[in-house]
Amino acid sequence: MFTYLTRLWDIRHFWLSLVRMDLRTRYRRSVLGLGWSLLQPLTMTLVLCVVFAHFVKVDVRDYVPHLLTGLVCWNFLVACSVQGCQSFFLGEQYIRQTPLPLGVYPLRTAIGAVFHLSMGLLVLLLVTGILRGPASPYAYLSLLPSLALLFVFGWSVAVLAGTANVFFQDTQHLAEVGFQILFYLTPIIYRVEDLAGHQLGWLLQLNPVVPFLQLVRTPLLYGTPPSIGVLAAACGLTAVAVIAASATLRKMQDTLVFYL
């Protein structure tokens, strides 16, 4: 594992330049540049706020940060899985020419996604700071390890999604459909408490996305670091994903090229 990471580090110039090109191409296309990727969660928040404030009683000061954190984190996980599906095909031309550690290609996807996540979090810091006042320094500090955890989780998910897509060409399509369903099973537009006492409340306990959402939500909304339980759950899920991803990479390193 350590030698694998050193090998990845040795070729850092290569994947960094891929990420740089990806970001530059993406932002060159639009006048708004960086703002464009933030526009989607912001508009969605605005629309939902207007709609929900109309027929449900929500406090905008609570609801806006809640919704926006949910959307920003959700978008990150979807990007890692859905774009991750294409990661090996995007790198096909390199895979066919040079034997590099395969983890590079999902890494390219994950770094791009984590960049957008960080931008989203910066906006969130601003929004929550204005609406709810600044949180404790510990709360802000806890965001850094959380971000690292999300990144590792997202990278592993991208590895798994990319490999699955090489073998089953409808993976990306199925993932998109699956995420659309999961969206409504995830406390993004509603709160965990809203389902408390409901028959289906237990579903949220099983949802693997929830701990990662709380990792970011608790510090930003309640001004405290996330609870040990949440942290443990997120670490556990990440560990499982990392183990699965490294096993996959080890198995596929030599043979993936035959399936492309």
């Binding site: 330049s17 090109m21 191409t25 031309q93 390199y94 020419q97 040079t98 060409q169 043979t255």
Partner: protein
């Protein structure tokens, strides 16, 4: 020290008749019936043993599908041997699928850097070479344009210029002696010779038998995945010509 050693190397891989499965298909077929999308086995290399040492220039010839390119990719480490041993000492640079490996939406300059990094350059080392690469490619202001808009010839020019800007220990070349238009071809041939003079070990595949005789020190003739003949370039080339056109070779 540069060295390539293959000991009884086999390469076998599976391909599916209809490329890839869908998950739906997999689940349904798995439950009801098999073999609608049969797996076919390709035995591309059969017991190839080879030893190429420092200073040698090995030419490989053979008909289409004989396993030449597969052998090169195996040497480069892209394909792992299914059985047998592969040992390579020295840094490998390979020139195959030369027009591949570009990011289409990025411009020529960005792609020069990216491919340089892929070949193991660092930001410091590539900076000194960028101008030389740009000059050799003769692409001028086209380098500011996304590679997507390049013609095939322009892409080959750029790829060739980047790939040959390095000083390799082991050079693996697949049919790149005929790149670009006539003017560029002559320039490219010169560049290849310069590179060959610098590289410590070369393995090349070509259908241009004349240049194989001129450039290599030893030749192998690959036939259906195994070595049919090995020896001095002229000797192997003649045997090869004779095999395919006995009368023409005799004349």
């Amino acid at each position: 020290m540069a060295l390539i050693e293959l000991d009884q190397v086999h390469l076998e891989f599976k391909v599916r008749q209809f490329k890839r499965l869908t998950l739906k298909e997999f689940v349904i077929r798995g439950m009801f019936s098999r073999s609608a999308n049969p797996v076919m086995h390709v035995h591309a290399l059969k017991g190839v043993s080879l030893r190429v040492t420092e200073g040698e220039r090995l030419g490989i010839l053979g008909h289409n599908g004989a396993g030449k390119s597969t052998l090169l990719k195996l040497l480069a480490g892209v394909y792992p041997p299914t059985a047998g041993q592969r040992r390579v000492v020295g840094r490998i640079s390979s020139l195959f699928d030369i027009a591949l490996g570009f990011e289409p939406d990025s411009n020529g300059w960005d792609n020069i850097f990216n491919r340089g990094y892929l070949q193991g350059e660092t930001p410091q080392s590539i900076r000194g070479k960028v101008d030389q690469i740009a000059e050799f490619s003769e692409l001028g202001q086209f380098l500011d344009m996304p590679v997507r808009y390049y013609s095939a010839g322009m892409m080959v020019r750029l790829a060739f210029s980047i790939a040959t800007a390095i000083e390799p220990e082991i050079l693996i070349v697949d049919e790149v002696l005929s790149v670009g238009d006539l003017a560029f071809q002559q320039k490219a041939a010169r560049r290849i010779r310069e590179m060959m003079a610098k590289a410590r070990l070369i393995v090349m595949v070509s259908h241009d038998l004349e240049s194989l005789i001129n450039l290599s020190t030893r030749c192998i003739w690959l036939d259906h995945g195994s070595i049919k003949l090995e020896g001095a370039p002229a000797e192997v080339v003649h045997a090869y010509q004779h095999y395919f056109a006995p009368t023409a070779a005799a004349a």
